[in-house]
Amino acid sequence: MSEYILRTNQLTKRYKQTLALDNVNLHIREGEIYGIIGQNGAGKSTLLRVITGLALPSGGSVELFGKSERNEWVDMQKRIGALIENPALFSNMTAIENLELHRLQRGIPGRECIKKALQLVDLEHTGNKKVKNFSLGMKQRLGIAIALLSDPEFLILDEPTNGLDPTGIVELRQLIKKLNREKGVTVLISSHILSELHQLATSFGIIHKGKLLEELTAKELDEKCRKYLQIKVDDPKKGAIVLEQTLAATDFEVLQDGTIKLYEYLDDVRTVSLALTKNGLVIEHLSHHGDSLENYFTKVIEEVYHD
């Protein structure tokens, strides 16, 4: 199997005069939970619509499970479950009927899958209630159930928390984590709410005005967002002792190249530098690092603006 579940190459989408997607190169590996972050209208939905074949690209290509030729690519859609924008439901049918319709369409053998999908989203007791009498949250959950019906390898969810109450959001997060862990489902999820994705995704793509500004893993993001003092002294070993003995610091790391990351004394750089110099160390570098999550994203977006 190819390493990438999804890869886009210079993907561009033009609507008359506006560029909805501008040379997007997205990479999603197997087993990832990939979060696309962007403000409303940044191009998240357009991207997902092109990936799922609802909209056709104006330029560039989409490679799904290693296939980019359109005929093969359509076939690969069978391996995907998706919820794009608002859930696509027949309002005069019940939840079960909606799922049955989708089951027929996909040729999924056995009606057991319907029960399972309803259980996953906690809708198994809606009985004969028609979808038009559902609350927004229930509709959303039914939309997710449809996406899950075929047990897809790749799950695409566009702003799935729309209309869900706080408990529903937590449940959805747990569900996605569970599917990812227990079935190895790769997930692509979009949101304009940072904190929502931060607790879930293992990789991030930041999109703004149709451009994919940055792709980074959760680890890299945490690294960038964890605040620390970066210290470089002429003798890192001694430096570590000074931190331990003089400052009673416990939360620090010595990196391979001798750089020390100190996660304490963030507001007291003076004390740190004094302690180090008093013990005869030469400070080559001492600086603050790390940002809050929101600040980091604002920074990424602004950087591109200023160019």
Binding site: A55, L56, V74, Q77, L104, R106
Partner: protein
């Protein structure tokens, strides 16, 4: 493909509008047949009179586009267009991993199936029922039977061309209201063109459309050439319009 057909049939069976239109058609049809067969209402000069099937004159209105088009375009509106507007259920189908042309063709087949039920099966069935009920069972003899099967076979072929056109309109307009309006406008336009059919070139063209064929196929004792021509007009229309419709649908942005 079979799965797509099953899904479409599942939808048609649960489509309220379909049952309502079918009910209305059945009601109207029964009423017509009763009125005609009990001779409360006299209709003359129809094609049915010419072959001695005056008792079945109640079928005549159901063969006129301006009349049945209401039923057909309503069905198109609530079976096809609404999928695009009403929460966009078409998206799920397009994302299910089928070629769009297959999706389109499955829809066309089931939509045509519904149309045939409404405009062919119901009027004929009610006619037979009423005839038997009112003691006119004798008109159902072999020779008439042959005429009915032959003409309605050709009629259905033309109807399939018509459903292809209406379906394309439904896909283009994406909205129930617009579909109805455009379909009616289209049929009225054809009706107007018909009035200009005395002009030789317009007339020739008109004679080779399914709209002319709708009434022409009821002509008693069609010649072999006329048979061939009717069949050709129907088949070519179906293929041509389907091809265009699929091409349109293939490039369509699904909202």
């Amino acid at each position: 493909m079979i799965n797509l057909l099953k899904a479409e049939t599942f939808k048609l069976k649960r489509n309220k509008s379909f049952w309502m239109i079918a009910g209305l058609m059945a009601g109207t049809s029964i009423l017509f047949h009763i009125l005609i067969m009990t001779e409360w209402w006299m209709m003359s000069g129809t094609k049915f009179d010419a072959v001695g099937l005056g008792k079945l004159n109640g079928l005549a209105p159901f063969t006129v586009p301006v009349f049945f088009n209401l039923a057909v375009c309503s069905l198109a509106a609530f079976f096809i267009s609404s999928e695009f507007s009403e929460s966009g259920v078409i998206r799920l189908q397009v994302m299910s991993g089928y070629k769009r042309s297959h999706v389109y063709f499955a829809k066309y087949l089931v939509f045509s199936f519904g149309t045939i039920i409404i405009t062919v099966v119901i009027p004929l069935l009610t006619a037979a029922l009423i005839a038997v009920a009112l003691g006119h069972g004798d008109i159902l003899q072999a020779q008439h039977f042959q005429y009915i099967v032959g003409t309605y076979g050709l009629f259905t072929l033309q109807l399939l061309g018509y459903t292809a056109i209406v379906m394309m309109l439904a896909i283009l307009t994406e909205e129930s209201g617009k579909t109805i309006i455009f379909s009616i406008l289209f049929t009225v336009l054809v009706f107007v063109i018909e009035q200009f059919a005395y002009h030789p070139s317009v007339g020739w063209l008109y004679e080779h459309t399914i709209f002319h064929q709708f009434s022409f196929v009821f002509t008693p004792e069609l010649s072999g050439a006329e048979w061939m021509r009717s069949t050709a007009v129907g088949v070519i229309t179906i293929l041509l319009v389907l091809a265009i419709g699929m091409a349109v649908f293939n490039r369509k942005e699904i909202k």
